[in-house]
């Protein structure tokens, strides 16, 4: 009880008793979450404005004698003629470690029923991306735990890697797997007591998704213990488009706090196609001129200013990073659509998921030809670089040869060998959802492939063999993996240990 009275006393003491000067306006029209307000002559662009019943809005269109505001709350209580006030503040969201493990809305208010968030700081939602001087090139890996990705399209801390594909091809699964893997690595690193260990904190921004899907994701992250390192920014399809438009920027501000305080963070935007659609809706209601596919002219800037905020900062600026995994949904595999091409051109590479591969049971359905990481092997540990260097080329050659060999009955020995190797790599890369593999085990498995340990195993048994090998390397044969984890290298001694471990495992595998 005394705590409550203390709080009230403190608030009364801090309360300003000076006369206040505000700028006001009145609602002239109100439709689809957008209000036209007359007055507000001194409002700033992107300023937060206050409607009756604590409904907040943002001034997005400053016209000669009216202001177009998007509303962020329940608009049912508002009516024409209601007073609107400026707040003098740009829209800000709470930031910091207090947000970890929490689910918040687009303006950072908790929606998980776990009480208020005790955040020390607020960051404005819209910020200018770091310039050229504080940046440095990406050189530290961010492991997804997915063999097909970590070996062929490695991602580095501070990179922007697009996940693109048709509906139901496993885009969100790749992002969630990556988040789960970060939590595993974080726990492993914290237990190791290594003072140089840098955990990766994650932010998952859900835009325009079904509430049931978001609930499933939260449950999954909680059940895998990943939620301790994750903040979820939720702007489901049920909320008005203004919230969906804002959510990625809010999440980004939360991630920037980690980056600017010398930490590493990962942000997933799921997905930017729906984000663009929400922005189109707002722009059309605000009567902004529309262009291709009715998107407004600044739809490129919408995503470029968001993704440019992900960066790797140099030592003079804290050495932090913000890695972005934006997701884009294509229609019928068409990567040449308006929004996909925009985002492809902004990001540092893309993981393209193919429906055909997915339906054939090749999951994750990563398309070798269309997936690329512009950071490349700079974002791989040395051990992995050594074993995975040629795998993308081998797999690409396999796909090409496999297409040609359909018409050829008599194949030469070298083509046959390549086809055999390719088929085994395809099987090797098959991986169940939400089951990320530590990088040292991935490197060991890849080493086994490069050293022909899988050649005697029938293609149909490869998946089973890989599972059995992973179990073996986590239990009996963990010594070489521990060496890779500690040194990050594949030294002669490690290779010797790997060879004997593989020989041991092969004797047990039937």
């Amino acid at each position: 009880m005394s705590a409550i009275t203390d709080l009230i006393k403190r608030e009364i003491e801090n309360l300003s008793t000076d006369a206040t000067r505000t700028n006001v306006g009145t609602i002239s029209t109100l439709a689809d979450g957008v209000a036209q307000v007359e007055g507000l002559s001194k409002v700033m662009f992107n300023e937060m404005v206050e409607f009756p019943n604590n409904v907040l809005g943002i001034a997005l269109n400053l016209e000669e004698d009216s202001v177009g505001c998007v509303l962020l709350g329940d608009t049912s209580s508002l009516k024409e003629g209601d007073e609107v006030r400026t707040t003098g503040k740009l829209l800000s969201v709470p930031v910091g470690k207090a947000l970890l493990g929490r689910v918040v809305d687009a303006v950072g208010r908790p929606i998980d029923g776990k009480g208020p968030i005790d955040a020390e700081k607020q960051f404005p939602v819209e910020r200018i991306a770091p310039g050229i001087i504080p940046r440095k090139s990406v050189d530290q890996p961010l492991q997804t735990g997915i063999m097909a990705v970590d070996s062929m399209v490695p991602i580095g801390r501070g990179q922007r890697e697009l996940i693109i594909g048709d509906r139901s091809t496993g885009k969100t699964t790749i992002a969630i797997d990556t988040i789960i893997n970060q939590s595993k690595i974080n726990k492993q690193g914290e237990n190791s007591g290594n003072p140089d260990f840098r955990p990766v904190f994650c932010i998952y921004v859900a835009v325009g998704q079904k509430n049931s899907n978001i609930a499933r994701t939260i449950k999954l992250l909680e059940s895998t213990g990943a939620m301790d390192y994750v903040t979820i920014v939720s702007a489901p399809a049920a909320v008005n488009p203004a919230n969906q438009y804002l959510a990625p920027y809010s999440g980004c501000a939360m991630g920037e706090w980690f980056m600017e305080n010398g930490m590493d963070a990962l942000i997933v935007y799921d997905d930017l196609s729906k984000h663009a659609v929400a922005y189109r809706q707002i722009s059309l209601i605000l009567k902004r001129p529309s262009g291709r596919e009715a998107y407004p002219g600044d739809v490129f800037y919408l995503h470029s200013r968001l993704l440019e905020r992900s960066a790797r900062l140099n030592e003079n600026n804290g050495n932090g990073s913000l890695t972005a995994l934006p997701i884009i949904e294509t229609q019928m595999g068409d990567v040449s659509g308006y929004i996909p091409t925009n985002v492809i051109s902004i990001t540092d590479g893309q993981i393209f998921l193919e429906t055909d591969l997915f339906n054939k049971g090749i999951r994750p359905a990563v398309s070798v030809g269309l997936s690329v990481s512009r950071v490349g092997s700079a974002a791989q540990i040395k051990a992995y670089k050594k074993v995975a260097g040629k795998v993308k080329l081998e797999l690409a050659q396999f796909r090409e040869l496999a297409a040609f060999s359909q018409f050829e009955s008599d194949l030469d020995a070298s083509t046959k060998a390549r086809l055999d190797r390719g088929a085994r790599i395809v099987e090797l890369f098959k991986q169940g959802a939400y089951n990320p593999v530590p990088v040292e085990i991935q490197a060991a498995v890849m080493w086994g492939m490069q050293n022909d340990f899988f050649d005697s195993i029938p293609v149909a048994d490869i998946s089973r063999a890989v599972e059995s090998l992973k179990d073996y390397l986590e239990t009996q044969g963990k010594e070489p993996c521990e060496q890779i984890y500690k040194t990050g290298k594949l030294e002669e001694d490690t290779e010797r240990n790997l060879r004997s471990a593989f020989e041991d495992w092969k004797r047990t595998f039937s």
């Binding site: 309360l15 008793t17 006369a19 505000t22 700028n23 006001v24 007359e38 002559s41 604590n54 004698d65």
Partner: protein
Amino acid sequence: MSEDIKIKKLAKNLVMITLDEEGKIIQSEMEKLISGLIETQPSGLKKLLKLILNETKRLEYGYSAVVEFNGKSDQRMVDNLVQKLDTLTVGKVELKIVETPTIIAGYRVRIGDDVIEDSIASRLSNLNKSFQ
């Protein structure tokens, strides 16, 4: 140019011709304008009249201040306010004093789209926000 912008511009221009040298609306000119419009019945008359009303309100706000208070009005306070507002605005300000019990105590002055407020109601509202 869209129809909306055209009609907005027309309303603005029509109101402009009713202004005197100080930029204040001449009532007789405005009456003439309205009756002329009603007589000729141009298309979109209702919308045009609404826009004229908005424009008139906007202009009136610029040179008149609405002072809301609760309790008895004090002539000294009014004089002080007029003096202060004259320094804040260009030209003479007309004062409209309105009694508003909902502000509980203190005052609230609205001039144009600026609101200067020192009332108990606003302090309570701020306190309420600080607890949220």
